[in-house]
Symmetry: C2
Subunit: 150 residues, 2 copies
């Protein structure tokens, strides 16, 4: 019975898609303009930095970042080729590996954050109050992880 979306739903959807695309593009542009790698690198380096010395398995990264499995596989290959991460065999699972961020990777993340963080502040932080930002987060949170259509 939810076949036809209400006008407010359509409008919210349209704005959500449009605004997120636009802001994402701005953030990517800012990184490019500073000669820094794309946001996808940041996402992975960030997760790995949070994970600490233990590192993460690639499949854990696919869960956390929403990138497709083959995408993570290739992204990690690029990051490794560039010395940003290192892959270690994992003892109790011969199929897998553990990925750990290197010092260079940590430094890359730090440099990216100075630009990325500024983008966030400019694109979002300077237009809404903290209360409004919290309200936005709360509303978006209700749309998160909707149950997959069986």
């Amino acid at each position: 019975m939810t076949g036809i979306p209400s006008p407010p739903a359509i409008k919210a959807w349209a704005r959500l898609m449009r605004v997120s695309r636009q802001l994402l593009e701005r953030a990517e542009d800012a990184l490019k303009d500073s000669g820094l790698p794309p946001l996808a690198w940041y996402d992975v380096l960030h997760e790995l930095a949070e994970a600490g010395e233990g590192g993460l398995r690639p499949f854990q990264l696919t869960e956390r970042t929403l990138f497709a499995q083959y995408n993570i596989s290739r992204l990690l290959a690029r990051l490794e080729a560039d010395g940003q991460v290192e892959k270690l065999p994992v003892a109790d699972d011969g199929r897998g590996q553990t990925v750990r961020v290197t010092d260079k990777g940590r430094e890359t993340r730090r440099r990216m954050w100075t630009v990325y963080g500024r983008s966030i502040a400019e694109l979002v932080g300077s237009w809404l109050s903290n209360d409004e930002l919290d309200a936005l987060s709360a509303l978006l949170g209700r749309l998160r992880d909707p149950p997959a259509p069986e």
Copy 2:
């Protein structure tokens, strides 16, 4: 002075990016599962349908859809090859052309909407009340079209 984003700004940004990506993926999957073309086709067909008989110039489509110019160029080539749109020379500008949706294109849009609309209803409409959806639209509207960084 807006160099460092506040925690609420970071959280709102993260949710915005994550939720929009996730919902977009769901909507795309639903179309694929029904054997329908990707959302990009819908966006263009929708704009052209709204424009009516007069059609639109490609550069107008790039403005309205946020797709890059070369992207629109190739998307239109694919749509034309598939008979969804037709390109007409435009009288008063020898460089340009006018793009108009065909009957087939209108039919494609209609069929896509039955699936796409249901996705919107399920992914957004069923989780927030209309008032909440309006509040979300209003907040997102404040983030729209931020002035480009010079």
